[in-house]
Amino acid sequence: MEFKYIAILAGLLLLAFLLYKELHRANRARLIWRILANIVALSCFVLLIVPVRYKTHLKQNPDEIILLTRGTNADSIAKLKGKKYALASATIQNEKSATLSDLSYFLKSNPKIRKLNIYGYGLSKADLENIKGYQVNFHPSVNPNGIIAAHWPAKLKTSDALNVQGTYQNTGNQPVKLVFKGLGKPVDSTTVEAGTNKSFSFKTYPKQTGKAIYELISLQKNDTLAKEPVPVEVNDQAPMKVLILASFPDFEYKFLKNWLYENQYPLAFRSQISKNKFASDFLNMDSVNLNQVNAGLLKKFDILIIDEEELAAISPVERSSIALAVDNGMGLLIRITGSKPLTTLSGKSTRFEIPPLKGKTLNLTLAEDHFRFSPLPLEQGLFLRPNQNEQSIVTDASGKTVLSSNISGYGKISISSISSTYNWILSGEKTDYATYWSKLLASAARKRNDIQSVNIIPQFPVVNQRMRIITDLSVADKSPALKIDGVQLHPRQNMELPFQWDALYWPQNSGWANLQVNQTIGQLYIYEKNDWRALKYQQTLNDTHQFIKDLIKNDTKIKLADTVITEEISIWWFFTGFLLAAAFLWYEARILAV
């Protein structure tokens, strides 16, 4: 039996006893009053013990507040009536408003508030989670002025280009000059006209080895509007290992060999000199047995360059081991000269031949980034027709493919119909030669698997704000040792992906930080609070807009859901009643009765 029933029962018993006593009292004056007082006192006493609760529907017009977030224009809210609360991040002057340090706490403690009028740039994703189920009106401020989107690779390899791309939103009425500056000098610049959004793309080749901070500076005449850091790290990488199998030595191989040799790439070169007799070169590497091509040998190399004649001449076992190695990730570059495929490996792409035009030079273009090479004095007649599985990498001036690549398992097979690129070196166009072969080898060669990868949320981790570090490991089920600047972190495993771990961290200092995952140390840049401000504002704006959109979709549901709350009558009422009744009884017995 519940406590309250016991209490009520006890109360009733006590009341019966008291009434009996009253009725048998000698002094019968004011009997009715005394009985009433007894009843009131006892019932109040019982209700003191047993609280009275009742359910009510909410009022038709719920409480609403005005929530001021960052970027609120003080003038626009001055006329508004109602309670104004400002988030701590919103810096509003000359305006009476209560400051909220924690929105969710405030909302929980004021359950009557059902409607929020949000002014400014809106709320962050985490805060938006907390106002689910509320009626929200969003009055956004004007769009922030500045870079609202930006991306660049944080880590580069030597001789790679740094591409910084993004969008600048100029809401002002004057043009803004955006300057990309790095390593002591302006690299590039662009002008954003007043009242427009402009995408920008800056490209540079960082020359340093190590860390550097580039800057995106927005200027309006002589005023610097913003200076956003672009941290970049450039590191050397272990060079790829190249194997060349030649049916006969020619100039193309010779120049390629020398070029790779001078760039310190490990290279094994084999060319046939007679039946089963080979001449072999081992450059920048230890010698291995090249007489027989097998899986073990191919595993040591990242890319195999072979001409079609040689591919046809080697034994079928060797060919199949090459095919297998390609499926396991090795790159294969086949140089073809004839219009008829000699092997199945090289026959994957269709070829066609047109009579070459006499005296015409070959103008090659990189299909991907439209890089134009200087003309080669060649009369090219053999072209490739890439099918839908193939990617054309190098084309001639009229768009006919001369070099294509297709995926086979983990690896790639590239087929090239260009016979002599060494003409570039002979005519002094070393840049073209280097660009051509770099692109070719990089796109074909075996991809290097990282031991782990690290992802940071948010995109721009800010000092004294929470950031999440997500690492992907190659080995699952082994907790990684995570350290930032010597602070040990304790990662948590992803429930679905066992190799993914994440950890939370509040950085203390801005600037470069060392992030250690197991044994490897990476670099991480912690931004200042004011860096990339416009971008962050735009993000909260977008998030809030999206939230409102989702809200409207689910709006009907919210309205139907009856908001019923339980109210409790304050015990002070009962105590007062009890006190008054008891006081009357006492007064009547002591003073009136005497």
Binding site: K211, M240, D450
Partner: protein, 710 residues
């Protein structure tokens, strides 16, 4: 002994005479010395104290020539006698001892004694003095003029080259230096005057002499100049107090230097060199390859423009003539001058008519020539080689090549060769022929030419009588004929009706486009020849005929492939024996090499860039960093020695950075820019792409996908 009044007068005259004379001579000597030393100082750049040597020397010489102090009283009395008739030739009496004189002499003497004081003082000594002073004045004016000569030169050269004034660069000058100047004396070939500047940054022509004059405000024990950070040269003190210093150096290379005042080093100052460029030669006429056809004059005009930064000294044509054929080619070289004075002009346009005949050239010979020029510093330069050839008519007219080919032209056609022969014959007989006959024959030749042209036109697929201004009348007739039989719904017939269809002349034959183009050129020449013949101007037609013939010959040669007969006998192959040799003794060559990057420069510089980047955010340098900075500084000194204008400020900044306690962003920027310039362009290197970590899950996914694909 008491001197008489007359004696006294004469003596005083003598003293005045000598002193005035001496003053005059001194003035003259001063004038001469002044002139000489001014010339020496301003034009020959001798030190100023040279006047202290020259003046006594000149004075001594002058005095030696005219020993005026040797003048005695007697000389004076002789002069007085000559000058004043009143003295009646007896002034010398005054000088003689009174006691030794005779009665008469005494009387005379007394008489003169009375006269002498009343005599006017002679003007002669004054004259002397005034002449001397005049000379001095003249010398002063002249020397003043001389001092202006360098300036005049300068202004002249400035106006000529419109030279920008030396822009003053702000320099940090050590506090010990009160004044200084650097005098730059450009070498003679530039024709520029010397210039004096009040800054240490020097821009000088190659081979210029620079003279530094430094005055310090306190005595310094040792003042040295350090060139390019390794070449130390002490300065010479000019005075005992060690405050005046002087130094001269000939500048041939760019670089930088700094002052070292008793161990205290100044900033770095750059030395830039303006090099002397060789003469640029531009041939505007003729073209690189010129062919002179028959009928054209065998001469050509040569137009050359030469330019140099200081002056052209000489230019000539170096011509080589090649004559003969095959193995009998002989070469003769000739040097042709332009026959003009160059006078160190900065730019000159030369023209020369070169007569090939006078050079001894015959048809079929070729002339190769180029122009060689020298500037006033002796730097040679030469142009490209140009070719001029004269077409050989004999070769054209020869039947070689025509005789043994298949002749497609029917007999009734006259060949181009025959037309030429006939034209020449007609021209020869022109004088003897009546005008009417001449005209008919010329017209006949024109008809022949037309026939030939049409014949060749057929090769090109020309269907009309003439392509030039061809008519289309017949085609309209065709259309009318066909219009009768028309099928209903025959689309092609309907379109044919409205379309104007031809065989496309271009596609009718199987000639290559290049050959077609040449055939067309032949036809044009033939048409031109025909035009002249028909208008009775065979003389004018001749060049066109020759050109047509030459082009035809070329065509013939082009369409012919020549294979020499061979009579080599090869023994029969035994197929079963092929590729069956024993190979076991053949060793397989193996080559092993490792490329060693000897030069650490780029690697160091790249790391230094990142190091400076680190410094920007406030990290201090440690030992290792300082070593790296030291290495960078070494490379930068090397770079600055070659190009001070680019790297000197960076070097200064780098040194500042090494000692500064605070990161100085501006200096870091300057150094970073310089380092990036030093690295040059980096060529792309193949970099393997990276993929995410290969977890088992991904591999399983891939394998399953592969299986599903099969």
């Amino acid at each position: 002994m008491l001197k008489t009044e007359g004696q006294h007068w004469i003596r005083s005259l003598r003293i005045r005479w000598i002193s005035f004379y001496l003053a005059g001579i001194t003035a003259t000597a001063l004038a001469i010395a002044l002139l000489l030393s001014v010339t020496g100082f301003y034009l020959l750049h001798l030190p100023a104290w040279i006047i202290t040597i020259i003046f006594p020397l000149v004075l001594a010489i002058l005095l030696f020539c005219k020993p005026v102090w040797k003048t005695t009283d007697l000389d004076v009395s002789r002069f007085v006698n000559n000058h004043y008739p009143e003295l009646e030739e007896s002034a010398d009496l005054l000088l003689q001892n009174e006691t030794e004189l005779s009665m008469l002499q005494q009387l005379q003497r007394n008489k003169i004694e009375n006269i002498i004081p009343n005599l006017v003082q002679p003007k002669e000594p004054f004259k002397r003095l005034s002449i001397g002073l005049a000379i001095l004045l003249a010398a002063l004016i002249i020397s003043f003029g001389i001092t202006k000569i360098p300036q005049l030169n300068q202004t002249a050269s400035a106006s000529r080259t419109a030279k920008s004034p030396i822009h003053s660069i702000k320099e940090n000058i050590p506090a010990e230096i009160s004044t200084f100047s650097a005098t730059i004396i450009p070498p003679a070939y530039t024709g520029k005057g010397e210039r004096k500047q009040k800054q240490f940054t020097i821009t000088a022509e190659t081979g210029a002499t620079v003279n530094w004059k430094i005055t310090t405000n306190i005595g310094i024990k040792k003042l040295t100049l350090i060139f390019n950070d390794h070449e130390i040269t002490p300065l010479r003190a000019l005075n005992a107090a060690h405050t005046e210093w002087n130094f001269s150096k000939t500048i041939n290379k760019p670089g930088f230097y700094q002052l070292n005042l008793d161990g205290k080093k100044s900033d770095l100052y750059q030395i830039e060199v303006i090099p002397d460029l060789p003469v640029t030669i531009k041939i505007t006429q003729p073209k690189p390859h010129t062919t002179i056809d028959i009928g054209q004059p065998q001469k050509f005009n040569l137009n050359v423009s030469l330019t140099d930064d200081y002056g052209i000294n000489d230019a000539f044509i170096s011509a080589t003539m090649a004559s003969g054929k095959g193995e009998g080619v002989s070469f003769t070289e000739k040097k042709l001058s332009f026959n003009t004075a160059f006078d160190n002009k900065k730019s000159i346009t030369l023209t020369k008519l070169i007569d090939l005949k006078s050079l001894g050239m015959k048809p079929g010979d070729e002339l190769y020539f180029f122009i060689k020029a020298m500037d006033n510093h002796g730097q040679p330069s030469r142009s490209d080689v140009y070719f001029v050839s004269i077409v050989d008519t004999a070769e054209l007219m020869s039947l070689a090549g025509m005789t043994n080919g298949v002749n497609l032209v029917p007999e009734y056609f006259r060949s181009e060769r025959q037309i030429i022969i006939d034209t020449e014959k007609l021209l020869k007989e022109q004088a003897t022929l009546p005008a009417a006959t001449f005209k008919t024959r010329s017209n006949d030749l024109g008809i022949d030419q037309k026939l030939l042209r049409l014949r060749y036109g057929q090769f090109l697929g020309e269907e009309n009588e003439t392509e030039i201004g061809g008519d289309h009348e017949e085609h309209d007739e065709h259309a009318e004929h066909k219009s009768g039989e028309e099928k209903f719904g025959d689309v092609s017939a309907i379109t044919d009706k409205y379309a104007h269809k031809h065989d496309i002349a271009e596609d009718a034959t199987f000639f290559e486009p290049e050959m077609k183009a040449q055939l067309k050129a032949v036809l044009t020449e033939m048409w031109n020849a025909e035009l002249r013949l028909r208008t009775y101007k065979p003389q004018e037609a001749l060049p066109y005929e020759y050109k047509a013939l030459r082009l035809l010959k070329d065509l013939q040669q082009k369409s012919r492939a020549y294979v020499a007969k061979t009579t080599v006998k090869v023994s029969a192959l035994k197929p079963e024996k092929r590729l069956s040799g024993e190979l076991d003794k053949i060793t397989q060559p193996v080559q092993k090499m490792a490329f060693e990057q000897k030069e650490k420069r780029t690697a160091y510089l790249k790391t230094a860039l990142a190091l400076l980047e680190k410094r920007k955010i406030g990290k201090n340098f440690n030992e290792q960093d300082r070593f790296l900075l030291g290495e960078t500084e070494k490379y930068m000194i090397g770079a600055a020695a070659d190009q001070p204008a680019t790297y000197l400020t960076a070097l200064t900044s780098l040194r500042k950075l090494g000692v500064a306690s605070k990161p100085m962003l501006r200096d870091i920027d300057v150094v970073q820019q310089a380092i990036q310039k030093m690295i040059h362009i980096e060529l792309a290197k193949p970099q393997p792409q990276s993929a995410g970590p290969a977890s088992v899950l991904y591999q399983d996914y891939f394998n399953n996908l592969n299986k599903a694909g099969r």
